[in-house]
């Protein structure tokens, strides 16, 4: 699953550590999600959506749909 987490983070000038702090996960987890190596759970995806003020589908993109 692709995502725009890195772009959204960069737009706000946040580091991975800062984003990890806000999401209550490790920096390694943020890095793995950004690189598409790990798909977040639905609760974590909702948390990220709330944090950025966006809908989940505006952050996480279904590979099959693209």
């Amino acid at each position: 699953m692709k995502n725009r987490l890195k772009v959204l983070r960069a737009e706000r000038d946040w580091t991975q550590a800062q984003l990890a702090f806000e999401l209550d996960v490790s920096r390694q987890t943020v890095n793995a999600i950004e690189k598409g190596k790990f798909d977040p759970s639905l609760p974590l995806a909702f948390k990220a959506a709330r944090l950025f003020g966006l809908a989940i589908e505006e952050i996480f993109l279904d590979d099959a749909a693209s």
Binding site: F21, V25, Q28, K37
Partner: protein
């Protein structure tokens, strides 16, 4: 966004890890007491041995509970890496342990298999699995 140095999630995680380390050391101490106490400390007297057995079980149970709390505090990727490693360790231990146990019956080794050898295998298997898991998601 203000990233506090007193990171609550990370701090809580570290606290649970230290708690687990403390109970693990206590369990090792309890195991050592049970292993060597009867011979070197109280000359196989029954009551102290029963006390050491009870202590070992209680501290061991506390260690398991600390492990459960530690796992519940991990984030989802850390938990996946941990559980993958635990599953692999269980499989490796089961397969190698049963095979190892049969080696003596088949007269391929001259000594009786010891459970401590399985502990070493579990530790090595778990450590390698966690290392590989962390590398995979780096």
């Amino acid at each position: 966004m203000d990233e506090s140095t007193d990171d609550s999630w990370q701090a809580e995680n570290n606290r649970k890890a230290k708690n687990l380390a403390g109970w693990s050391i206590a369990w090792l101490g309890g195991t050592a007491l049970l292993a060597f106490g009867p011979k070197y400390m109280w000359d196989y007297s029954t009551l102290p041995t029963l006390g050491a057995v009870l202590l070992n079980l209680v501290v061991g149970l506390a260690m398991v509970m600390a492990l459960v709390r530690y796992i519940s505090g991990l984030d989802e990727l850390e938990r996946k890496i941990f559980l993958d490693a635990a599953g692999l360790t269980l499989g490796v231990t089961l397969v190698c342990g049963s095979c190892y146990e049969l080696l003596e019956d088949a007269k391929l080794i001259p000594y009786q298999p010891e459970i401590s050898h399985l502990f070493y295998l579990m530790v090595i298997s778990f450590a390698v699995s966690v290392f590989v898991g962390n590398r995979r998601y780096k």
